[in-house]
């Protein structure tokens, strides 16, 4: 019998594992729920093995897309998706949908009231302390001059199901709701790995929703602007949901910008594009409001735009969602939601919230203390659960600032299995649903993002699930939208703001640096395999030279004799500065924030690298080091293909300039230590041979010099030979060309002057003089290698300054006088 039927049968027989929780698959009478009947008809014969295969396929696809999630304070980890979706029938969805639409409308009405007439406070429908004590209430917006606090274009709401199957609101997400990109990605992946099932069950597709999302952002523009410029303001590639942001930016064709890319002039917001300023009409923000304006909000923020609040108040730009929207996430509003709904919308509240008690009244305080064993006690912002074991401590914390605490009943959650290594296991489901503003109403996304957690496990360890809402009739239009928008995607290439140019320059540098390190790793590994037990041989001495070159570039604090451990860590340890793993992590981060600029092929490269590293991590054999390094090299070489297919614009020239700078640097790092010292004929031959391999020039050298390796021939080939693409001279002429093509270049800018000096210097160099011996050393060569490295570093700094600078960081005007 198949795995799903088996699970259903066992639930019927033994009851749900989490009785009396609502089971998503089987009802209390032991009958399959209608939505699942349809799914089982299609997927019922899936075996555990087949399902495990699907899961592996999902992992591979997600890795190829570079889908990652970064839990706060942790390293990015792969986005996780379970093969089994949460399936809901059209009928049960339609009830939920009305509740969601009402809630979004209600939240927007609350926003309008709290930043406008404040009837809710004046009429004491909501206690003033519950609102005014919340950090999300932005007083800089709450001014008489503000017309409209701005729209709630996107809302997210977290829901759980009680034992009767009724959805309850756990939390409202209005500040900058994340997850729509992940939901879309989940669907894209699942529809590829379960194509037949996906086709057969008639579910609502998500694509039309995305079309509506772009329209919703555009309609949020200030009045009178027909073709608004919209940007997505991100806190940066290291943020928790960077992938989600980049996905939306790429899918909707919105430039992904950071605070430094924007500036305010005359109360309007502009984006810097290649030295020009272009006005921005809509900012879709993924930065929390407090961090968006160092002038009026948090002064220590580096993520914001000075003057943004003023621009918003003047109505020259719309920030989505409103800068004031954070106040709606306040759990202290939940107990009053029903009364608020009656007051503002004049209708009963459809979706109830999880029962919540506010500590701001003596009765509320008393109730929370009495029921502290059954309630979850939270501060209202951030809404973190606090420890309630110590009654005295809880009592005094609440007594000090009672208005900042709530007690909530444990969130009800339904049960649905997740495929684990031990087969299907029941998990608890949280559903994040989304709405977008359409005209004056709010339309829910028919679908969502579900998170499944093991009972009792923290939310961040959960695995995501796609949400399938089945159509009541096969003729229902997807998302209930008849006029399907035409294809999505960037019509015009996203502008190259300074942040993008900087990222591309570094992408080029890290690609080259990482490739050089992989080559060095391969050569060092080959020497180690042959000579690590014969240290006294010429090969053993060469191993020492190469190994110390590698460790100079990427310091290693392990046992110096442990070459295998060293090289393993170079490939695997992302925290080791200068390592291959470190370089790959940087590349991935850059690619993430450049998602809208790069071909998806880029992410396939990382997927393949991850697999090569995975193979090494699980294999104890030393040969796997060479094997995995070789595969990583092949994958990195694919980046040339990605670059070859890019449009030759400012960004491309900068990326290639970055690569050229780094190629020059790397060749110096390699030949410097190898050739500065003369170690005897035998040893030098081994060292130079290894250097030629690491510089990918061994074949050329052999062809020209029939296997006779001398310092002069190596220096000529690696430093002076214009025709060798791996040589210093070639790197410099390439750099010269790339720089000349940049918009800001004149032929005499500082980076160009520095490169010209280097080329002049190189033209004067003659190999014999350069390699003149003094004792065991080559002092001219040592000086040359050092000076070239220094000069190239200056070039890199100058390029950054002249071509990608966003100017200095914002600083405070200085403290003003404190008076008498």
């Amino acid at each position: 019998m198949s795995v799903l039927r088996e699970y259903a049968a066992s639930v019927v027989e033994h009851g749900s594992a989490q009785d009396p929780a609502y089971d998503e698959i089987v009802d209390a009478e032991g009958t399959l729920r209608p939505a699942w009947r349809r799914l089982l008809a299609e997927a019922g014969d899936l075996s555990t093995e087949r399902l495990a295969g699907v899961r592996a396929e999902i992992e591979r696809l997600l890795a190829d897309e570079g889908a990652v999630y970064t839990p706060p304070g942790e390293e990015p980890r792969a986005w996780r998706l379970d093969p089994l979706p949460l399936v809901l029938s059209g009928r049960e969805w339609s009830t939920l949908e009305k509740g969601l639409a009402q809630r979004a409308e209600l939240l927007e009405a609350i926003l309008g009231d709290l930043y406008g007439p404040r009837h809710l406070l004046a009429e004491q429908i909501v206690p003033a302390a519950a609102v005014l004590g919340h950090e999300g209430y932005v007083r800089a917006l709450a001014r008489p001059s503000l017309g409209d606090p701005g729209p709630l274009v996107v809302t997210g709401v977290d829901l759980g199901r009680g034992p009767t199957g009724e959805w309850q609101v756990l939390a409202d997400r209005t500040q900058a709701p994340s997850g729509i990109g992940f939901a879309m990605e989940n669907r894209r992946v699942l529809s590829r790995v379960l194509p037949a099932v996906h086709r057969a069950v008639d579910l609502h597709r998500l694509a039309p929703f995305f079309g509506s999302l772009r329209t919703a952002f555009a309609r949020a523009a200030p009045p009178g602007i027909d073709d608004p410029r919209i940007v997505l303001l991100s806190p940066g590639a290291g943020s928790e949901t960077a992938y989600d942001q980049a996905f939306i930016a790429a899918a909707l064709g919105l430039p992904l910008v950071e605070g430094g890319d924007l500036t305010v002039r005359d109360g309007r917001v502009f984006v810097r594009v290649l030295g020009r300023l272009e006005q921005v009409d809509v900012i879709v923000r993924r930065v929390d409001a407090a961090w968006t304006d160092p002038l009026e909000l948090r002064g220590d923020s580096r993520l914001g735009v000075a003057g943004l609040t003023e621009a918003v108040r003047r109505g020259t730009v719309t920030v989505v969602n409103s800068l004031g929207a954070g106040v709606l996430e306040n759990p202290a509003l939940l107990p009053f939601m029903s009364a608020i709904c009656e007051r503002l919308l004049d209708e009963p509240l459809r979706l109830s919230g999880v029962p919540t008690v506010w500590a701001g009244t003596p009765e509320g305080r008393e109730e929370i203390l009495d029921r502290r064993d059954e309630l979850v006690v939270r501060t209202i912002d951030p809404p973190f659960e606090i420890d309630v074991d110590d009654r005295r401590a809880l009592e005094s914390a609440i007594a000090e600032r009672p208005h900042r605490y709530v007690g909530q009943e444990r969130a009800p959650r339904s049960v649905l299995p997740v495929l684990t290594d031990a087969g299907l296991r029941p998990h608890e489901i949280t559903l994040r649903a989304f709405t977008i503003r359409q005209g004056s109403s709010h339309r829910p996304m028919i679908g969502g993002l579900a998170t499944a957690t093991e009972p009792g496990a923290p939310f961040r360890l959960g695995v995501s699930k796609d949400v399938w809402v089945l159509k009541e009739s096969p003729d229902d239009p997807d998302q209930g939208i008849d006029d399907q928008p035409t294809t999505l995607g960037p019509g015009v290439p996203a502008p190259q703001v300074p942040r993008v140019l900087d990222d591309l320059f570094w992408l080029g540098r890290h690609a080259e640096r990482t490739e050089a390190m992989v080559r060095l790793t391969i050569v060092t590994h080959a020497l180690a395999e042959d000579f690590q037990d014969r240290r006294w041989t010429p090969g053993g001495r060469a191993l020492d030279v190469l190994s110390s070159t590698l460790r100079a570039l990427s310091p290693w604090d392990g046992d110096p004799a442990d070459h295998e451990g060293d090289l393993r860590s170079v490939l695997l340890d992302a925290r080791r500065v200068g390592s291959v793993a470190h370089g790959v992590a940087r590349l991935q981060e850059l690619a993430q924030s450049l998602r809208d600029q790069l071909s998806p092929d880029m992410f396939r490269v990382f997927g393949a690298i991850d697999r090569a590293r995975g193979a090494l991590a699980t294999t104890p054999h030393a040969w796997q080091i060479g094997e995995s390094a070789g595969r990583i090299l092949t994958d990195l070489l694919a980046l040339y293909g990605v670059a070859a297919n890019m449009v030759r614009d400012e960004g491309w020239h900068l990326m290639e300039a970055g690569r050229a700078v780094e190629r020059g640097l790397q060749v110096c790092h390699l030949v410097g230590p190898a050739m500065t010292v003369q170690r005897g004929h035998e040893v030098d031959r081994e060292v130079l041979g290894a250097v030629l391999q690491a510089a990918e020039s061994a074949v050329t050298h052999r062809r020209r010099h029939r296997g006779v390796v001398r310092a002069t021939t190596v220096a000529e080939l690696l430093l002076l030979d214009e025709a060798n693409p791996r040589s210093l001279r070639h790197a410099l002429t390439t750099l010269d060309d790339r720089l000349a093509a940049l918009a800001g270049s004149s032929g005499s800018t500082r980076p160009e002057r520095l490169v010209d000096d280097l080329l002049d210097e190189l033209a004067r160099v003659e190999a014999p003089a350069l390699l003149a011996i003094d004792g065991d050393e080559r002092p001219n060569f040592a000086r040359f290698a050092r000076a070239t490295v220094d000069q190239l570093m200056r070039v890199a700094d100058a390029v950054a300054e002249v071509h990608v600078a966003v100017g200095p960081a914002p600083r405070s005007l200085g403290f003003s006088g404190s008076g008498s």
Binding site: L121, Q124, R139, P294, G299, G307, L813, G819, S820
Partner: protein
């Protein structure tokens, strides 16, 4: 009394500033006891953008942006105001202080507005020390006017006025530990004492006209910005007290702006973009009587 107030703030940088955004709270607000006859702000270099607005608390705030490269920024205001001593209802002052806690008075239609000023704010921690210190003045049933006045006397007596003892971001427990501070610290301290007992109290910034010593000429520019505190009374009025000078607000005080604490109403604050490493600040205030 009628005064002409000149308030000049000058920032000097050791390298050019390319772009500067600022907010200034330097224009007195009109009040029942304060008529503002004229008020102007002048910024040098000429700002590319300048806008006056009323903020959340009804204060006049000036937003400006200077895009001309500069090594010196001057924000100067000049206003003419006519001030009387505030008149308060003796009955309101006689209210037991417990009845002036806005959170306990939902029966009063406007008490919710005062709630904002009864909650803790960034620079005003409601510490246990402040609560205990204030408890000696806030005896049960005591009239609020009397209790707050006594608290003011005690702060004036117990804390030394000393420049440099604290900084603009000093917190309440620092002020308690050094037992000294400037007007801003005394104002914050008063707020912490009153709020920790549930009273609503606001931070007020402004100017105080000083008299020259007998027989001496008035020295122009020797005055300073000043700050004090005001406590909410159940009739919606506010009793303003100056613990630095141990007196109630009178016709020598010019009120500029109020908020939860200093951070809501600094005279000038801003964000600059520059490579400069250092800046110096000079403030001069002159409150001159006019007829």
């Amino acid at each position: 009394m009628r005064y002409r107030v000149r308030h000049r703030t000058t920032y000097t940088y050791d390298a050019p500033v390319a772009n500067s955004y600022g907010l200034a709270y330097v224009i007195p607000r009109p009040l029942p006891f304060q008529r503002v006859d004229s008020a102007e702000v002048r910024i040098v270099p000429e700002p590319s953008d300048l806008r006056r607005d009323d903020d959340h608390f009804g204060n006049v705030v000036t937003y400006f942006q200077v895009t001309a490269p500069h090594t010196e920024l001057v924000v100067e205001s000049e206003s003419v105001v006519d001030v009387r001593a505030p008149v308060l209802d003796p009955e309101a002052l006689a209210t037991p202080w417990e009845a002036a806690r806005p959170l306990q008075r939902p029966d009063l239609p406007d008490s919710w507005r005062a709630v904002d000023l009864a909650l803790p704010s960034t620079l005003v921690d409601q510490t246990e020390q402040a609560r205990e210190y204030a408890a000696r003045s806030l005896q049960p049933g005591r009239p609020i006017g009397e209790a707050v006045t006594e608290l003011m006397h005690r702060i004036h007596a117990d804390f030394d006025y000393r420049k440099g003892a604290t900084t603009v971001t000093s917190r309440i427990d620092e002020v308690f530990s050094v037992r000294a501070g400037v007007c801003q610290d005394f104002a914050h301290l008063t707020l912490a004492c009153l709020r920790s007992h549930g009273l609503a109290a606001r931070y007020v910034s402004g100017y105080l006209a000083t008299s020259p010593p007998p027989g001496k000429e008035r020295v122009v520019g020797a005055d300073a910005t000043h700050a004090w505190a005001a406590v909410w009374l159940p009739d919606g009025s506010w009793l303003a007290v100056d613990p630095t000078n141990d007196q109630w607000l009178n016709n020598r005080y010019v009120t500029v702006a109020w908020g939860r604490d200093y951070k809501d109403v600094p005279p000038v604050k801003g964000i600059i973009f520059t490579e400069a490493r250092g800046s110096t600040l000079a403030v001069s205030v002159d409150v001159a009587p006019v007829v």
